[in-house]
Symmetry: C2
Subunit: 354 residues, 2 copies
């Protein structure tokens, strides 16, 4: 376990106003993070659920293209409850969420507390986003002709499944959508901050979280960030702590020893929801398919109250990384409810990779 030099809960659901009078905020978590002009910009996933309760009915929110929020009330007897967040409509087999997510922009000068929250929010608005936009990961891609815009991936959830879409912004106020870049089921898509061998690169995690395939991360490449190919698996995890699910966490960071990738692993569990922890791998700069080092087990497990209790218990889920020289600031979702930040000594983390 890495020594936490600093650790704080940056945001909780009660810190954010709901986007609609009919909704209440149940989660502010899984924040993309980027250093921009001397401050840290966070793209925070906000999960909301209908405020109203009706006996024997469940409220299923959605946002259709060109329309506002809609709430479907379905009798509980018509539903199978898969987990606290997911239901199946028995008659049709349709999967629905009991909440809906959008993305909020927050700013922090020192990265240790929130200074402001933008009035602009990024809402579902496409056919593939009706059940929510989730888990943004943001990258500033360096290189000739690049750098004026920030690109972020996000999970687009709808009746079509959960795929990953791409958007860009120059000012965090206006956003341009680029559509689905990794079709369902695919999550945890992270863009590299530089081209590799002339191409953009990304981690992705195909497959839904079923037992039909093992947990593993893949690499892919693109000439335009829209069309992706050369798909290859590269890391399947090794320990029990990452035996259930695995996926890219923070966009990778260049170090002298290779690409540093901080990722999440989930312990395989009979109930399907084991502890989520963080680990790290070191990848060859020229050929990230080549794993040069890994940590012996997790570098961070849920310990603080705000990581252990929330919408889903016992989750740390790293999603953003800011390089402060000798210190790394890692932003993460905690218990699917809160935003956390932890600071590690960069030397400690690099020493743990072998």
């Amino acid at each position: 376990m890495l020594d936490r030099k600093f650790n704080a809960c940056l945001m909780r659901p009660e810190d954010v106003s709901p986007s609609d009078d009919a909704l209440e905020v149940v989660g502010t978590f899984n924040p993309g993070a980027l250093a921009v002009d001397g401050e840290v910009v966070l793209l925070v996933r906000v999960a909301e659920r209908p405020r109203e309760r009706r006996d024997a009915f469940t409220a299923l929110p959605r946002r259709e293209p060109g329309a506002g929020l809609a709430i479907d009330w379905v009798a509980n007897e018509e539903l199978t409850f898969i987990d606290p967040r997911v239901v199946e409509i028995k008659a049709t087999g349709d999967i629905r969420l009991t909440f809906i997510s959008h993305i909020l922009v927050a700013r922090s000068k020192n990265g240790r507390s929130i200074d402001s929250v933008s009035a602009t929010r990024f809402f579902p608005q496409e056919d593939c986003e009706t059940y929510g936009v989730e888990d943004p990961r943001i990258t500033r891609i360096q290189g000739p002709g690049l750098g004026d815009e920030y690109h972020f991936t996000y999970v687009a959830v709808s009746k079509h499944g959960a795929g990953t879409a791409l958007a860009s912004t120059a000012d965090f106020d206006r956003f341009e959508r680029h559509g689905i870049v990794f079709p369902p089921e695919n999550k945890d898509v992270l863009l590299f901050p530089e081209r590799i061998g002339g191409e953009y690169a990304a981690f992705h995690r195909p497959n839904p979280a079923t037992h039909f395939t093992p947990p593993e991360m893949w690499l892919a490449y693109s000439s335009d960030l829209i069309h992706w190919g050369r798909h290859e698996p590269f890391h399947g995890g090794a320990g029990a702590w990452e035996s259930g699910r695995i996926g890219g966490g923070c966009p990778p960071m260049r170090t002298e020893r290779g690409w540093l990738e901080i990722y999440h692993g989930n312990e395989r569990s009979a109930t399907g929801v084991g502890v989520y922890s963080a680990g790290a791998v070191l990848l060859d700069i020229e050929n990230p398919q080549r794993v040069l080092g890994r940590t012996d087990g997790p570098i961070m497990v849920p310990e603080a109250d705000f990581e252990r209790e929330g919408f889903v218990a016992d989750v740390v889920f790293p999603t953003g990384l800011v390089d402060r020289g000798d210190v790394l600031q890692v932003y993460y979702g905690a218990a699917d409810a809160n935003v956390g930040v932890v600071e590690w000594a960069k030397a400690d983390l690099l020493a743990a990779l072998h």
Copy 2:
């Protein structure tokens, strides 16, 4: 139902010699088909299983890169039998197949009977192919600078899941692999025979066959056949016959009224294996996202003995289409065991699309 002007079983497992003394052929099916120099070339999936039986053990074949055939004998008590073809190793959760597939090249002058079978076979040889290469779909792409090579997609099955890879050939004797183009889970990838708006186009079917997402086909585009983007769902089926699974069948054919796509649908079933039938849609030539017509229900259901009895009962699975002017020759897998061909009057099929 379309009138079958001609119908025959072209190939059965007993017609093909096993690729290894340790194996027996259990299926010859799901043939890619293409008219080449006045004859029909078929790429036939050959499924084989270990010949030997051992009491209380199950044989699980695989072909590792750079190695020959290997057979893992696993005690039945260590396995969960998911269906006749798929087992789960209890201790690890790994999914394995009880058979392994490769691809065989056959030729027919009139398209109604097999004249010859090539000595060359296309075997699994990559890390993502260890459990088999399946369901080839072949296209000759027309256009400036194109046409000297034939491209085929195939399902690559391994511990990484079932994704779709691309290969090409000029002579059906030497093959060039282009890697995974649609990562797991993705099957039923068909290339269009022309560029559309300057880009190559393909159907694909993301998602495994679970109830987490509805049956549907997607479109994607590419500038080089390797990197794919602009993913959008376009057809989710409408009838009970296609309520379980759905997927592209034959590579689409240009007609005066639009792209003709003959696809498969599977009836939703409590056991997960309902009847597989064939249907058709008509898509806008310039924007195939736009569905111009569809058939009222299936155009072909399993009727003949060789379609009703085999490795999986009651399956017709169209995979190749040859245009003979007024007549369409459709090649299909029957009961996951046999190759069938059916001839329809083109006018009959077009009349059924509205």
